[in-house]
């Protein structure tokens, strides 16, 4: 009896604040109001999302999120390896120092780049000190990409680091004893064994990158439209909740499908996924 009572508030909360709101968004996305105010079920909101303008937005979001993920992986993997091989004396401290910026407010981390890249920012200050012409760094696609890499890099490094740390070092020693050189040991032993960490890092970078609207808003300005900006604008500016909901549904499907694919590729061993963030 008490066991059932215990989860009562939780059940209520799940239904009321998770399931019902999502169903409502779904409802909004498949409903259309015509000029006389009549409601009708239609897929026109989804059809509109496949308009060339919005396809560009979708493509741009995917492209920039994939680029950010790739750069994070290229920069983060070596760092994770260095951290994992570091002397125990410094390792805890180094890992902690790597995590500290992540604990800073996300908005402040993004804002920091505004001061550096801005028109009167630090970089331009340095340029003019050397008598070089000013460059418009801020409000460019590169600035958005930089902001993403900066914000999400630790999400890539930590899962890979966790997997590398848990790796059985005797496997690596065995490979070395059997005559594998550094490249072979890495490509045949370390890399394949670290795939779960890589996958979890990839999804932890890709997901926030593809759905962000803050980074693009601050580092590019109003016109740069990613999916996140599109949803935000439809909800808060244009007030077309039906279309906004349809785009949100597409974004949600995109993320859940890519998560499912990741899980499939990574095998079904969730214990190994380096979710050791906490």
């Amino acid at each position: 009896m008490i066991k059932r009572l215990a989860s009562g508030p939780y059940l209520f909360w799940l239904i009321m604040f998770i399931i019902v709101p999502l169903l409502m968004v779904f409802g909004y996305s498949i409903v259309q109001t015509d000029s006389s105010g009549n409601l009708s079920v239609s897929f026109s909101n989804f059809a509109r999302a496949f308009d060339p303008i919005y396809i560009t937005v979708l493509g741009r979001s995917l492209k920039i999120a994939l680029e950010a993920t790739a750069i994070c992986l290229l920069m983060g993997y070596p760092m994770a390896m260095i951290l994992a091989k570091m002397n125990v004396k410094y390792r805890t401290f180094a890992v902690m120092m790597f995590v500290v910026p992540m604990w800073m407010n996300f908005l402040l981390r993004t804002y920091a780049w505004m001061t550096i890249l801005g028109k009167n920012g630090v970089l331009n200050g340095i340029l003019s000190f050397f008598g070089l012409p000013q460059v418009q760094f801020l409000y460019s696609e590169g600035a958005v990409l930089l902001g993403m890499v900066y914000n999400f890099l630790p999400f890539m490094v930590l899962p890979i680091y966790t997997v590398l740390m848990k790796m059985d070092s005797s496997l690596i020693e065995a490979a070395e004893d059997l005559g594998g050189n550094k490249v072979t040991v890495f490509s045949k032993v370390i890399l394949p064994l670290s795939i779960p960490g890589v996958l979890s890092g990839v999804s932890m970078v890709f997901m926030p990158a593809v759905s962000t609207f803050v980074i693009s808003n601050l580092l590019y300005g109003g016109q740069y439209m990613l999916i996140g900006n599109l949803i935000e604008q439809q909800y808060l500016v244009v007030n077309d909740w039906n279309f906004g909901s349809a785009v949100a549904m597409i974004l949600m499907a995109l993320i859940l499908i890519s998560m499912a694919v990741m899980n499939k590729v990574g095998g079904d061993n969730p214990e190994d996924r380096g979710t050791g963030l906490w």
Binding site: L108, R109, A112, P208, Y235, M252
Partner: protein, 257 residues
């Protein structure tokens, strides 16, 4: 030999990349000029005006208020939820845990707009209450996920044993189960608190006029350009985080020994 130096250089470059922006903010928080291109002398003015800034001070108050209330409610609901989930039939448990992971997997913006849709439909005025409700919603799943494993580590007959020996269910929960799951509850509460303090996207959609947390205040200020007060604020926040983590690090080390 070359590899060792390359590694050091790489580490230095990476840490430089991570800390340079924070260092820049810290340096310019003492700059006696509105521009970040030149140095106008040393000053504490931005710190003074930060503490006189009504918007920021009020946002700080709301941030902490919401974090305390939301983490308390979500820890309470989440802990009892884990208790209920543990004794549930496997299938039902699995279904619920899948729903539980929805807010974790879903992009924040989708969670944000869906809650906003609900509140508007229910005719609840967006403001402090909706912000707290939204925060409780995204915190509960993390509490459940940190408490549930503690139940699974506990010998499964403990509750029955206590009740056979004459304990009321509530007494058994307090005296037998609670000590076992306490570490999970503390972790869950801490995660909930940090998530709530740090949240921007979900709060952004679920707050009304006059109520904003620090993230929203920073966002609305940053959109209008560079504000030296934000530099001062971020320096203070960075120092707070650093000190907290150093203390935490020390404590866990002592516990390990």
């Amino acid at each position: 030999m070359v590899g060792k130096w390359l590694k050091r250089l790489y580490t230095i470059l990476m840490f430089g990349f991570l800390y340079a922006p924070i260092a820049v903010l810290a340096i310019f928080s003492f700059n006696d000029s509105k521009s970040t291109a030149k140095w106008g002398g040393f000053t504490f003015d931005w710190y003074k005006s930060l503490f006189q800034n009504d918007l920021i001070m009020r946002s700080l108050y709301y941030t902490i208020l919401v974090a305390i209330i939301a983490s308390a409610i979500s820890t309470l609901i989440g802990t009892f939820a884990a208790f209920g989930l543990y004794y549930m039939k496997p299938l039902k448990q699995k279904v619920l845990l899948n729903v539980n992971s929805l807010p974790i997997l879903n992009p924040d913006i989708v969670t944000g707009i869906s809650l906003m849709t609900l509140f508007v439909a229910l005719n609840i005025k967006l403001g402090l209450i909706t912000m707290i409700l939204a925060h409780v919603t995204f915190c509960i799943p993390y509490v459940v996920l940190s408490v549930l494993p503690k139940f699974k580590q506990m010998p499964s007959e403990m509750l029955e044993a206590a009740m056979d020996l004459g304990a009321t269910p509530w007494y058994a929960f307090r005296k037998v189960i609670y000590p076992e799951i306490k570490p999970g509850i503390i972790t869950g509460a801490l995660i909930a608190f940090t998530l709530s303090i740090d949240d921007f996207v979900i709060s952004f959609f679920n707050t009304g006029s006059g109520v904003s947390n620090l993230s929203i205040a920073i966002y609305s200020m940053a959109r209008r350009g560079i504000k030296p007060e934000i530099n001062a604020l971020s320096t203070l926040m960075f120092i707070t985080v650093l000190i907290l983590l150093l203390i935490l690090n020390k404590r866990t080390k002592i516990e390990e020994i």
